[in-house]
Amino acid sequence: MFKCSMESLNSVFAKISANAELYIPADNCDGKAVYTKWAEGVELSNQLNTVKSPKDFFFPQVEDMMAFKVEGKNIELIDIRKAQEDFVVFGVRACDVKAFEVLDNVFLVDPVDSYYAERREHGIIISVACGRPSETCFCQTFGIDAANPGGDITVWYADGNAYWQSNTEKGEKLLASLGLESCDSAAVDAEKAKIANIMKKLPLAELKADAFGGGKTMELFNRPEWKALSESCLGCGTCTFVCPTCQCYDVKEFNTGKGVVRFRCWDSCMYSDFTKCAHGNPRLSQVERFRQRFMHKLVYYPENNNGLFGCVGCGRCLAKCPISMNIVKVMKTLGGNA
């Protein structure tokens, strides 16, 4: 384990960014934390977490995949992929680190999504333990430990210092290059105990996911409560776009006048055209679309991934839903521990 003082974090950032692009949460013009490319003068945010999840780094909202040139009856396929440079993301919370595992299970299974894989390979995740979780946090429901966030390197803030520990080979290499002072884990152990204590006090500490998981499809799918839960859903995409694990995308094309670019962009199961095709739409009303999102996170995903839930309890949808309808309300209503 290594440490540096909080005041010297900026010089550590400078060291990291000498070899790779570094992104840290920094406050934007509204005082909200967003991942920002580090440069001299960019200050680390004090907020608990970023408004948008770090999934952008590996699965950007819009991504050009290929281009076509169409001439008469002929089509030319142009490969526009660029080589990915190494980059480092600092300040990822435990929930969001777990979310990468959720995404990996989708994108890195055969056939591998090479766009995602390439970025994943070149990205180094430096996680930070949560000293001050919010009332909207419920990562512990899914067995995530906010005090041990994982990633390539874990950082704890305690008594004016940042403590660094590597978890992977990639992380170890980077950490070794930073030349930090080595230390014992006493301060971190105390911090971990403090976090464990605060986690117990959170309003959602008692939330359980026992009623959900693989094999519960038919039991939950036809529950009458879905109607009331989805009643005032606007069908906007806020929850899906701020979600660190939502991975649905659309493949679309843009005719630039000089050729066609095929790109993919995030899509939302909340949108009416998500499943609409020439022969009709299997999810005609918002009840079905709403149900799909939560069934996917709580039942379908665990069913296909050995019980791993598709929700990591980051609480973004709790904070951002325009009508304050969210996965916690769904779990409490259907899970019977309201």
Binding site: V34, V62, R132, P133, S232, L234, C236, P322, K329
Partner: protein, 329 residues
């Protein structure tokens, strides 16, 4: 801080439900915390008594829900309307978007709603309890101390420049009727107009680049009630799920503002729900300010059946090329 209490609303809802005047109540449902309130349809007394909320976090405007709910629900619907909601209500009636006969509107006086983000900026994260009142009492898991915040200091942005405390539509009114207020709502627009074009460009570039195209602004907007939005129509050529670049961000917001120009009542829901805190109301207010100064004062929704400036003209109108920086030379 609300002068009218929850109990008055609950009593009203229950009595109208029980005497058969209405079959459904559109109201605010209690959330997980003290601030995350969800719009909901209540149909039974016990549910209302247990879960109906009226406090400083009841910002949601129900007018738009009436478009769908009047089609789907059996029987009359009781809707609670704050003064600003009544403008949206009237505007939707002007556009014949719902059947007035199916609605029983109860006006509720409003002292302004508060913004949880502003409270959190003062009290911090980890809120365990909020008690509303003149002084909002906030407890967090991090301290035993109760933090007291003056409700006036944490008003929602739109309530700080409230345009009217007067209900322009209702069947029945709870609380006192207020007046149209001489608000300062165009100050921010004027501030932007006073900037240089480069500064304005930089401002909007920064703001709009935050857009994630979640469509929450459109989907909450009581003026956006098209059955199929142009931005959802694959044949429109502009149907895009994500704003691929800064052009598309600008186009979406300019066109959306334009489509509601003259119909936007300035209810401020767009800015309230934006997950990225983009001040979208500044686009709508610019149009309102321009229309007021070019074509005479007009408040959408102030009366049913009024003709919006963009569907009207005079032969003496200002020429487009004489318009700049708000038309004030």
């Amino acid at each position: 801080m609300q002068k009218i209490t929850r109990d008055v609303l609950v009593e009203k809802a229950v009595s109208l439900l029980e005497n058969g005047t209405v079959a459904n109540v559109l109201g605010w449902r209690k959330g997980e915390f003290d601030y995350d309130i969800t719009p909901a349809v209540f149909t039974d007394k016990a549910d209302i008594e247990a879960n109906f909320v009226w406090n400083d976090f009841c910002g949601a405007n129900f007018s738009k829900y009436l478009v769908q709910k009047t089609r789907k629900l059996e029987g009359k619907i009781l809707v609670f309307l704050k003064p600003c909601d009544t403008y949206s209500f009237n505007q939707l009636l002007t556009e014949h978007r719902f059947d007035r006969e199916k609605v029983y509107a109860v006006g509720v006086s409003c002292e302004g709603m508060v913004d949880i983000d502003k409270i959190k900026a003062i009290a911090g994260d980890g809120i365990s309890k909020i008690v509303c009142g003149e002084m909002i009492e906030v407890s967090t898991v991090y301290s035993d101390e109760v933090i007291k915040i003056d409700a006036k200091d944490v008003l929602e942005g739109r309530c700080e420049s409230c345009k009217s405390k007067k209900h322009v539509a209702y069947d029945e009114l709870l609380g006192e009727e207020g007046d149209v207020i001489d608000s300062n709502r165009f100050d921010e627009v004027a501030k932007l107009e006073a900037m240089t074009p480069d500064e304005r460009f930089a401002f909007w570039q920064e703001q709009l680049s935050k857009c994630i195209r979640c469509n929450a602004c459109r989907d909450i907007c009581p003026a956006c009630t098209c059955e199929n939005c142009v931005f959802n129509n694959p044949n429109s050529g502009v149907e895009n799920k994500a704003a691929a670049n800064s052009f598309e961000e600008k186009m979406f917001h300019i066109i959306r503002a334009f489509h509601v120009a003259g119909r936007c009542t300035d209810c401020g829901e767009c800015s309230r729900v934006c997950p990225q805190n983009i001040p979208l109301h500044l686009l709508n207010r610019k149009f309102i300010k321009d229309m007021d100064s070019f074509y005479g004062e007009y408040q959408a929704g102030a009366e049913v059946g009024s003709r919006a400036p963009l569907v009207n003209y005079t032969t003496e109108d200002v020429e487009p090329c004489d318009v700049f920086e708000g038309g004030n030379e």
